[in-house]
Symmetry: C2
Subunit: 268 residues, 2 copies
Amino acid sequence: MISTMMSIKIKARLFSSADMGTGVTITPSTDQAHYLLKVMRAQNGDHVIVFNGRDGEWLSVVQTISKKACALEIKEQLRPQIPEPDLWLAFAPLKKSNTDFLVEKATELGVSRLIPVFTENTNTTRVKSERLAAISMEAAEQCDRLSVPEVAEPLSLTELITDWPKGRSLLVPDETGGGRSLKSVLETSIDDAGITPHGFLIGPEGGFAASELDALDKLPFVNRVGLGPRILRAETAALAAIACFQAVAGDWQQAPRFNNGYFFNARK
Amino acid sequence: MISTMMSIKIKARLFSSADMGTGVTITPSTDQAHYLLKVMRAQNGDHVIVFNGRDGEWLSVVQTISKKACALEIKEQLRPQIPEPDLWLAFAPLKKSNTDFLVEKATELGVSRLIPVFTENTNTTRVKSERLAAISMEAAEQCDRLSVPEVAEPLSLTELITDWPKGRSLLVPDETGGGRSLKSVLETSIDDAGITPHGFLIGPEGGFAASELDALDKLPFVNRVGLGPRILRAETAALAAIACFQAVAGDWQQAPRFNNGYFFNARK
C-alpha cells in the first residue's frame, strides 16, 4: 500500500475529531478550509493526510465546494492507530510566549496531556485553554503524531494533587538538590509490564512555596527528581525532563515514518 | 566556609574574564556596571558572585566609584572549578528568535561550545556571533554554570567536517529513520574512561541536502541518531538531544548547589 504512493505530494496534515474510514467524507473546520484553500491553495483532487487520535492516519482527497469550503474524501488508511507514551505535563503558566512555546514543544516531544496549574508563586492568573489547544493541535499536525494532547482546564495545585489518579507517578524536578537523577528514577519504574504512567509537575519561575513542597513530599505518588547541577528555567526544565523520559522510558527507540517517502509541506 | 554565609543576599552573578583570587579587585564591563548600579541598584558593600570559567566561583563585594562605575573586590572562593561535560553543538542558524532561544537553552543545558554552521538549505546568511555570545553569557550567569560556552565563528558544513577534531564523535539527528536511538549510541560510547567527546550537528528547518547527508555518512566520526518517531523542529531536536546526552552520559547525576542557601536575584 505504502510503496505505491511514493510520489504523492501531500498538501497538508490535519486533525479532525470525525470518525474516519475508507469512503467517509469529512468536513474541515472553517479555519482548516481557509488554510487549505487560501494558504495552501489546495485544488480539487489534492491530497491531505487526516487523523483523529483514534482511527490511525488516512489519505484523503480535497473536493472543493466553493471558494471558501471543501470536503475531504477519505481514500485509504496510511497508518493504524498505535499506542503512544502516557505522559502528563502539569505546569504553572509562564509569561504568554513561554507558555505557548512550552505547549508547542511538549506536544512535539509526545506529551499526552497538558494541565495548567496555579501555584502560590505563579504570576499569571489566566490561561486561555482554547488558545493552548490550538497551538497543541497545530504542533501535532506538523510533527507527525497520531494524536493531539488533551489540554485540561486549569487547576489549583491542591485540586491537581487531590484528583491525581491512582497508579500514576508524579515527578517534580527539584532545584534544591533533594531528588535522585530523573534517569535513575525512571529506570526503576520500568519492569516487565513496561513503565507505570507518569506525569511531571513543573513549578513557576519563582519556584514552589515551602508549604507546597511540604505538601508534595507527603504524597506517596510524588518523587522529586534531579535534572543536573544547573538551574533551569521552567520551560527548559519541562522540555529536558520530557526528552529524558522519551529517551529512557518512552518511544525514542522508534523511528519516524518519514522514509516512506511522502512529501509533506509543513504548515509554516 | 559555606555554612557561615547562609544569610548573605547576592545582588547578581557575573562572568568576567579576569583572573580571580582572594583580595583581587576586578572591573566589571560597562554593561555589567550599568546592570549592577542602575538595574539592581547595588550599593557599596553589596555581594556579587563572579566566575571566569577557570578559577571557580568567588564572592565579591561592590565598591562604588561613581554613579556609573564600580569595582568588585574578591573576598573568598565559593566553589573550585570543576570539570564540565565536553559537548559541542553545531547548528544551522534559524530564524532570529529561534536561534536566540536555542543558544539560551543550550547554555542552560550545559553545552561547552556553540558553532553556527551554514548548510545548503540554511535560510539565514548572517549570524551575529557577538549577540549570541552575549545571550550565552547571560544564560550562564543565571543558570549557575561555572563556565560560559564558547561561541565559535560561523563555518560552512565543509569547513566543520574538515576541521572536526580527531577523537570527537559527531552525532547527527536523523528524521529519515536511519539512525539508532540516541540513548543506545551514547551508552555504547561510555567505557571505563568515561565518555568520548561528542558534538551534535542540527540541520536547518529544510533538512540537509542529499549530497550533504552522503558526505556526512562517509565520515568515520559521524553517527546518525534517532530522537523518536515524531518530526521535531530544529531547535526542539537540539534541546532534546542535549538533554538526553546530559541524562545518559553527562552530569545529571549531580545536584544544584542551590541548597547552600545563597539568595540569588535572577537577572530577569
